[in-house]
Amino acid sequence: MKLYYRMFLMHLRSQMEYKASFFMMSIGIMITSLGDLLAISFLMMRFHTVKGFTLPQILLCYSVMVLSYTFAELIGRGFDHFQQVLKNGDFDRIMLRPVRIMPQVFLARMNLERISKAVLAGVVLIYAMSRSGVVWTMDRILVLILMILGGTLMFTGLFILHAVVCFFTLEGLEVMNILTDGSRSYGEYPVSIYGKEMLKFYTYVIPVALIQYYPLLYILGRTGDFRFGLLPLFGALFLVPCFFLWKFGVRRYKSNGS
């Protein structure tokens, strides 16, 4: 554990070497998520509600998704950009070290500028919490935390999945964006608004709905069933199959090379 902490510190020190560009990049990245925020706000200013959700309620969903995506990006960036790790031979280097492979990949890349996105999402979350008309009891706050936690783990799983695909092909990775960036982007609205079929897809295939739509229903008091609030934990279980696929991918790399 101490070793991983040291590896993390290393990245921190690397980033501090470029203070000026760190600041500009932070702003740049913040603006990226500002675009979506602006689009959501403009649409909601015009329509007021969509499928019964108001602007603050949608923003609750938005901020949960952006926060968990960003946290996953912070810890799992090495998976998200795994094609580069493979292409430039960093993965061979990782295999040459007497340390477990997965944590090394987690720490292979790190972009701390991304925290700026989390800061923005945090501000939006506080605004949304105060305006959503929800009475913030302990159980609801707990569910909100579970949503962010479950989301972080689910997105980490998606990033790992992305990396697994890299073991098989370095072409056509664009399609993986549908799963990673796409899940985040579509998930900025409660996924129920895309219709019943899509809700099923995002419940049983990629558990986006488990970390936002169902627990949101509990927070907003549309259902009294606390089990809905616990669903993010099941969403986090998505990480388990991804982990085994990763093992499979590493074995394949060992027999095929890059």
């Binding site: 500009m24 990049m25 509600t49 072409e171 056509g172 990775l173 399609v175 219709g195």
Partner: protein, 267 residues
């Protein structure tokens, strides 16, 4: 021109080689477009009266944007050229007996066309095959279609004209990646690619239409579905032409001066 065509061919073969990439690109664009039409359908169901355009017009807008996605990314510049400008090797390029502005212009056009050529076909095909409220429909009449074509051609030339300004500005200053993403995203939002411009608030719309970015995407897409007609159509084409002349004219002139500076300094 022959060189540009040859390069286009090379690029095309090059991108064909990556077949998984081509299929993946098409699938990604289609899925993304499909999800977005579902989103607008939900808004339409919530409050049809607040819709600033018809639902089929919105889906047309989305599918055109998906099909031509790679054409209108402002920052899709040629890295070699940027490097050349930054490290001063551009001095050697000046020796050639061609107008550098137009050479780089065609090069950029070629690379954008080759990126889109492979992908737009299948995206169109899928979009046309999708049932009525989700799919792409034909333009209402021939006049609209030709107006769209004209507007589209101007939009392509305009985005490259804007892109040329990125080269030109690199002669004077190197934009950090932070600045790049700020400018890129502002331009993206104002071009109406994240949110169709008619959905923006009144005041914002006015500003967006006055700037050249909306002319690169929103205007041709709106033109296609018959959102503009009669005087409005002509006026919008006029504004596009105006920006086209201003952006390319000024770019050409300023680049000449920038190149002079390079030669004087000796590259």
């Amino acid at each position: 021109m022959r060189a540009a065509l040859g390069m286009l061919r090379m690029r095309f073969i090059y991108s064909l080689q990556y077949r998984a990439a081509a299929w993946a690109g098409v699938m990604t664009q289609v899925f993304w477009g499909f999800m977005e039409t579902l989103l607008y359908k939900a808004f339409y169901a919530s409050n049809a009266a607040a819709f600033p355009m018809t639902l089929p017009q919105v889906t047309c807008y989305i599918w055109l944007r998906q099909a031509f996605f790679a054409m209108f990314i402002l920052w899709s510049v040629d890295g070699d050229i940027l490097d050349m400008i930054i490290n001063g090797n551009v001095g050697y390029e000046i020796i050639r007996p061609t107008d550098l502005y137009w050479m780089w212009f065609t090069r950029n056009l070629g690379s954008r066309l080759s990126k889109v050529a492979l992908r737009c076909g299948p995206v169109f095909l899928v979009a046309f095959l999708l049932p009525a409220p989700f799919g792409l429909s034909l333009p209402p009449n021939w006049v609209t279609f030709f107006a769209f074509l004209l507007s589209f051609v101007m939009a392509v030339l305009l985005i490259i004209g804007l892109c040329m300004w990125i080269y030109i500005l690199s002669f004077y200053t190197i934009a950090s990646r932070g600045v790049q993403s700020i400018v890129g995203l502002t331009a993206e939002f104002l071009s109406g690619s994240l949110l169709p411009i008619p959905f923006m608030p009144e005041g914002f719309q006015k500003v967006a239409y006055l700037l050249p970015f909306a002319q690169t995407q929103a205007v041709p897409y709106l033109m296609y579905s018959g959102y503009y007609s009669g005087r409005e159509m002509v006026m919008n084409l006029g504004v596009q032409l105006f920006w086209l002349i201003v952006v390319i004219g000024s770019g050409h002139a300023v680049m000449k001066r920038a190149l002079l500076k390079v030669t004087v300094q000796g590259g």
